[in-house]
């Protein structure tokens, strides 16, 4: 049966709940007949063949009543579930339509979302709008899918009851009611196949609360690593998956220890044990509610087993600094350690596709990071202030991820060997919201391996890593100093994460000699390429 947005908007789910309530009352009246059915027994009152016939007749009435009770309980349960399912589906649609209206989109009866605003000249705004277009479309689509599922399941259940296929057994009427209630559960709506973040999010919110709990308990693998699912649900699902592991590896042990030490303050947002190295995405704080979220991607050599605790400490310190700058409640701030990829290790250096000297590993990781970032944004009804910070090889992963449309508001590159681009315009970041930090003595930050050295990228804002008397922060040196507690670089990251640009400390010094050398070589390379191009176009014999 085709279901339009108009049909779904006309649904009044409270009528299903009212029907369930009325029938529950009828069910209670039916169950109360147990005394009469017992009192009608002639066992011990009438023996002999006639008495046996009378008792057989009574038992037929009891069986028939059991079926009536079970059918009633089944319909009551089915209606309760359908009422909630219909309400959820309708709410997803109503919210999507309100969102569409606020953003200047129109939704037609078939569920198509149309952009009725003239296109923006700003490419970032265009990408952002396309993302919203997709998200709203996905929500409308999934609302209709959930509504169809609700209707099909309820119609199927009513049909089964009408055919007399609900068996109440031959026991007590209360037992028949229990059997019927169990029959009234609907099958789970399976997750969208190949869907986007918006599909998954709307699918999740189209489920009833009980179905969400069933999925966490019985199918945690559906949602544990799924972008677009709320963080709390992912966390609970991943805890289920974590508990399934018999003999944990060193990485899993480190993870279990950390989660046990902070049961309510960490969120396990992804867990992948399939590869050589454990992959984990760990949230500090509440990603479903925090106004400010910073996603940090570490670099070369990082492992869960060896570095999880240290990175967790860094994020805790960073969040404390953000809160101090912001002055708001602690719940406003959250940070994520994104180890959703396995960073290249030292022994990978000669392994094609894994070596830190090439960008192959970063390219495959970037797609996953982009999906995760999109999911942070797409899993929430509001629009959190979302920042990313990539350190070392992680800055390359971050830069490549930002080539996708992700909803990220701030991008910070720390000790970066390159962001994978010569032009910040390639990254989906609002203009003026790309930040670069390079500590003195950071040789990796001088490497300029992947795209133009970030020290010279146009529109990049360069922030200080030196001591600041104004903020009472210390200077950092070398490649591993950026998150040091009390440092200027940590202060700057906290200012980025908490949306306080007025607190940023700019790097006002001249570029370092290695940076200047690198830039000179890059410009020579550019000049050479332009000369080649010129000669190729104007000198026909040029090879």
């Amino acid at each position: 049966m085709t279901l339009s947005t108009g049909d779904l908007l006309a649904w009044l789910p409270h009528n299903l709940a009212a029907a369930a309530d009325a029938l529950a009352g009828t069910g209670a009246s039916l169950r109360a007949l147990q005394d009469e059915l017992d009192d009608a027994s002639v066992i011990g009152l009438w023996t002999g063949s006639a008495g046996a016939s009378a008792e057989a007749d009574r038992l037929r009435l009891v069986h028939a009543m059991n079926d009536l009770v079970a059918s009633m309980a089944c319909v009551v349960r089915g209606l309760d579930v359908a009422a909630e399912g219909a309400a959820h589906a309708r709410r997803v649609l109503v919210e999507a339509m309100e969102w569409a209206r606020a953003e200047g989109f129109a939704v037609d009866l078939a569920g198509a979302v149309l952009d009725v605003r003239p296109p923006s000249p700003d490419p970032h705004a265009v990408a952002d709008r396309l993302r919203r277009h997709h998200e709203i479309s996905d929500h409308v689509e999934q609302a209709l899918v959930a509504a169809r599922h609700t209707d099909e399941e309820l119609a199927g259940l009513l049909g089964v009851v009408a055919l007399g296929l609900v068996d109440g057994g031959s026991g007590r009427l209360s037992g028949a009611a229990t059997l019927g209630t169990r029959e009234g559960e609907r099958t789970l709506l399976t997750p969208p196949v190949g869907g986007r973040v918006g599909d998954w999010n709307a699918w999740w919110w189209g489920l009833t609360d009980g179905e969400q709990r069933r999925i966490i308990a019985l199918h945690p693998e559906w949602i544990g690593n799924t972008d677009g699912i709320p963080a709390r649900a992912r966390h609970l699902a991943n805890l289920r998956l974590l508990a399934r592991w018999g003999t944990p590896t060193a990485g899993l042990r480190a993870l279990q220890r950390l989660l046990a030490a902070h049961p309510d303050e960490r969120q396990l947002l992804a867990l992948d044990t399939t590869g050589r190295d454990l992959r984990v995405v760990l949230g500090v704080g509440d990603l479903d509610r925090a106004r400010h979220v910073l996603v940090v991607t570490p670099g070369f050599g990082t492992t869960v087993a060896g570095d999880l605790d240290a990175w967790d400490d860094r994020l805790v310190d960073l969040l404390a600094r953000s809160r101090a700058l912001d002055g708001g409640p602690a719940s406003d701030h959250a940070a994520v350690l994104w180890l959703g990829h396995a960073p290249p290790q030292l022994d990978d250096t000669l392994v094609p596709g894994r070596t830190v000297l090439r960008d192959d590993a970063a390219r495959s990781a970037a797609d996953d990071l982009a999906g995760f970032l999109d999911g942070v944004d797409g899993s929430r009804a509001d629009d959190p202030h979302l920042g990313v910070a990539g350190h070392s090889y992680g800055s390359l992963v971050t830069g490549l991820a930002l080539r996708h449309s992700t909803g990220v508001d701030e991008g910070a590159f720390l000790g970066s060997p390159g962001t994978g681009t010569d032009d910040l315009g390639d990254l989906d970041l609002p203009r003026g919201h790309a930040f670069h930090l390079e500590a003195s003595g950071d040789l990796i930050g001088d490497a300029g391996l992947f795209g133009r050295d970030p020290s010279f990228l146009e529109d990049m804002r360069h922030l200080s890593t030196e001591a600041s008397a104004e903020w009472g922060t210390s200077g950092g040196r070398g490649h591993s100093s950026y998150f040091d507690d009390g440092s200027t670089s940590q202060h700057n990251l906290a200012a980025i994460a908490s949306g306080h640009p007025e607190a940023l400390v700019d790097d006002t010094g001249p570029p370092s000699l290695p940076d200047l050398t690198r830039e000179g070589l890059w410009r020579l390379g550019e000049l050479d390429a332009r000369l080649e191009d010129l000669l190729a176009r104007h000198v026909p014999a040029w090879p």
Binding site: D35, D39, S49, A54, D57, R60
Partner: protein
């Protein structure tokens, strides 16, 4: 009233049993579950569920009426059984009494 050879019966208790099942029939007859199903159409207008609810309402009306009728018949049968046994008993007693105070061995 009992008999080791094949049957035993307590007619007053049978009437109580008949009253119980008749009471159940009466209570069931007072219920109208099918009417609540009409709310489904109001909740999900034009849906497959609304059509299914109409079918189920018909099935329930018939099913509840059948149970009620069967229960009433059962109650009537129990009561009739009690009456019949009492009647037979009374007839037997009357025949015996009609013999007066004669010595049963006096032929």
């Amino acid at each position: 009233m009992s008999n080791d050879a094949g049957f035993g019966v307590r007619p007053p208790a049978l009437r109580d049993a008949a009253g119980a099942i008749a009471g159940a029939a009466e209570q069931l007859g007072a219920l109208a579950p099918a009417s609540a199903l009409s709310r489904i159409e109001r909740g999900l207008p034009g849906s497959a569920s609304a059509a299914a609810a109409r079918d189920l309402a018909r099935v329930w009306r018939r099913g509840y009426a059948e149970w009620e009728a069967a229960a009433r018949r059962h109650g009537v049968a129990l009561r009739a059984g009690a009456d019949d046994y009492e009647a037979v008993d009374a007839r037997a007693a009357a025949r015996l009494e009609s013999r007066g105070s004669r010595d049963p061995l006096d032929r």
